[in-house]
């Protein structure tokens, strides 16, 4: 635009005037470039600082709670039951989620031909991934808790989390299987192995690091979920919380945090200051777990790379 207007002036300007005009244009473009660069620098640094500040703030405000032994106890100011339930629900959900989403991924990558069926399944996965987790929580309450008579229990919570994380698991495991080169499969089939035997002995072992990364990332989602558990797992613990009974109602770290800060001061039997301290501790624990999960997923990822470069 600006170049056109500079060269299509009606009077043919003298060389000097043209040079000056071009010089002005170049200066203007460079100034624009410098301004845009500094704005982008500013925006990026702003975003980074916000992220870092949030993490540091959470860990910092949680430190007083984290350094107090009663925080890890079973009393009303301790989180031992919630910590136990969080890991319980994590394992119970993965028992459903891992084989089912891996199986679906194997079907889509290894068996199904690209066609209407695979695109319908992918469309279903995207749609399910877009359903808000509170709506899936209501769905779980209706189907698992009421219609299937599981009532408000850990099992109903785990099944709801299965619905919630199925699309994510599918995508991660599909990515893992897609990294396995086609030649490996062809080699297996050429040796006369059946498809299932090829998958079992060739594809799955090669895709293992990716599968483990996927497992870890879905674990992070399960630990952080709260909205889907409000109506399916409840907000309170029974007396026999430290048992493996899947029919018990129980809360997790996230739902406890929501109950502490969301249901009005005093409803948990603690003073407001105690509630805030406890909530800060729970937030810090959640963030630290998340960091740990991220580091674990990363080091597994690095393992893949080392393998690929060594091979």
């Amino acid at each position: 635009m600006s170049i056109q207007s500079a060269s299509s002036t009606t009077f043919p300007p003298s060389d000097e005037a043209r040079l000056a005009q071009q010089g002005r244009l170049v200066r203007r473009l460079h100034r624009g470039n410098a301004i845009a660069s500094s704005v982008l620098w500013f925006v990026t640094v702003l975003v980074t600082v916000i992220f870092v500040a949030i993490i540091l703030n959470l860990v910092w405000t949680g430190l007083p709670a984290l350094s107090n032994p009663t925080f890890y106890g079973t009393g009303s100011r301790g989180i031992a039951p919630e910590l136990f339930n969080t890991f319980y629900i994590l394992i119970l959900t993965e028992i459903f989620l891992f084989p089912i989403s891996l199986g679906a991924a194997i079907f889509l990558v290894e068996y199904a031909r690209q066609g209407w069926l695979t695109s319908v399944i992918h469309f279903a996965a995207e749609t399910l991934a877009g359903v808000p987790s509170i709506v899936l929580g209501m769905f779980g309450f209706l189907v698992f808790s009421s219609d299937a008579h599981l009532s408000i229990s850990r099992l109903a919570g785990a099944l709801t989390l299965l619905c919630l994380n199925f699309p994510l698991g599918l995508r991660l495991f599909e990515d893992a299987l897609n990294t396995v080169p086609r030649e490996l499969r062809e080699g297996g089939l050429a040796l006369g192995a059946t498809k299932w035997r090829t998958i079992r002995t060739v594809v799955l072992p090669s895709a293992l690091p990716g599968i483990i990364t996927g497992l870890i990332l879905t674990a992070g989602k399960i630990i952080g979920e709260a909205a889907a558990l409000l109506f399916t797992m409840g907000l309170f613990n029974p007396a026999n919380v430290f048992t493996l009974d899947p029919t018990l109602a129980s809360d997790t770290l996230t739902t406890r945090l929501y109950f502490l800060k969301g249901s009005g001061a005093g409803s948990s039997g603690l003073t407001s200051a105690q509630e805030t301290l406890l909530a800060a501790g729970i937030s810090a624990i959640l963030i630290l777990l998340l960091l740990l999960i991220n580091i674990a997923a990363r080091s597994v990822g690095r393992l893949i790379q080392r393998r690929l470069t060594a091979a």
């Binding site: 980074t48 949030i54 405000t61 279903a124 952080g224 909205a227 996230t254 800060a280 998340l290 991220n294």
Partner: protein, 317 residues
């Protein structure tokens, strides 16, 4: 002979099992849509229900009838305030997210020095999975007091009613920015990365500056991918529950809807209303919450369809 027969059988069984797993996904999404829509329309047709017009245009959400002014306990199903709340917080938060996410994504893919990339990349990954209730807690303990502290003198000097609590749409919008930004940012980065290097080289070879190259070549080439990022961010924003519920803290729309203070008064939206009240209701009043869930489901389904349409039109994947 026997061995190969057994192998073929196990192959068939494995295939059937995996097929079942994949079909389960379709079953789940159909069940979600079916069960929710089976409950969603009863408040319009059953006894004690309401009309479509009331539901979408009246702001009086009282499905249990406890706040009935006549004292007869007649429920009221005007969800206008809730729907408006969800739309307002989603739109305003995405308006803040767009420049932040696009600016950071362009910088990240085109200009960022190595040390900044190595800090930012894990940060984005961590924040994509940060529990929404933790962000809500942070909003409640830091953002709300801060807004209240900041706005009390301003509101007093301008004579704006009520804008002193710090709770409300303003806080919800800022909390949503933190929740949505990582999602939009990481999808935008993927979209920009998918643009091949030849586009950059061609643009630079024509003598454009780096900024011209980004604005006139890279961003248009990735525009559909960036559109997908924004739409998926909106889908996430409208369904976000607990973070928003903690900082909205209201029961109804504020009285003066068209005043400056409306962003800083306790307020409502769909998800917060479901999270706070769904569990304590039953019968027709519970059906009203299913209608709300259906509204959410429809909106997010539309967003997913738009994002799929955009993705199908993109040149570089």
């Amino acid at each position: 002979m026997q061995y190969s027969q057994r192998a073929r059988w196990s192959d068939q069984i494995a295939r059937a099992v995996f097929f079942f797993c994949a079909i389960l996904l379709i079953v789940i999404i159909l069940a979600v849509i079916g069960f929710i829509s089976s409950k969603a329309f009863s408040i319009f047709f059953e006894h004690g229900g309401t009309s479509f017009k009331t539901f979408f245009t009246i702001d009086n959400w009282d499905p249990t009838g406890v706040n009935d002014p006549t004292g007869n306990g007649h429920p009221s199903f005007g969800a206008f305030g809730l729907i408006l709340g969800s739309i307002v917080v989603t739109l305003f938060s995405i308006l803040i997210v767009i420049p932040l996410a696009l600016g950071t994504a362009v910088f990240f893919t085109e200009m960022a020095p190595g040390w900044l990339t190595s800090i930012l990349k894990p940060l984005i990954e961590i924040f994509t999975g940060v529990p929404s209730v933790v962000v809500g807690f942070l909003g409640l303990t830091i953002l709300v007091p801060f807004l209240s502290h900041l706005l009390t003198p301003v509101a007093k000097s301008l004579g704006i009613v009520g804008a002193t609590a710090g709770f409300g749409w303003g806080a919800a919008i800022l909390v949503l920015v933190v929740m949505v930004l990582p999602t939009t940012l990481s999808i935008s980065i993927d979209a920009l990365r998918a643009v091949p290097g030849s586009v950059r080289e061609a643009s630079l070879a024509l003598g454009s500056t780096r900024w011209q190259m980004m604005r006139r070549a890279i961003v248009p080439a990735a525009s559909t991918g960036l559109g997908t990022a924004i739409v998926l961010g909106m889908a996430r924003a409208i369904g976000e529950t607990l973070a928003v519920a903690l900082v909205l803290a209201g029961n109804s729309l504020p009285k003066h809807l068209f005043s400056l203070g409306v962003f800083f008064q306790p307020n409502v939206n769909i998800t917060a209303s479901i999270a706070n009240d769904f569990a304590e209701t039953s019968g027709v009043s519970q059906d009203a919450y299913w209608t709300l869930a259906f509204v959410l489901l429809t909106i997010s389904f539309i967003f997913i369809c738009i994002s799929r349409y955009l993705a199908s039109r993109s040149v570089y994947k």
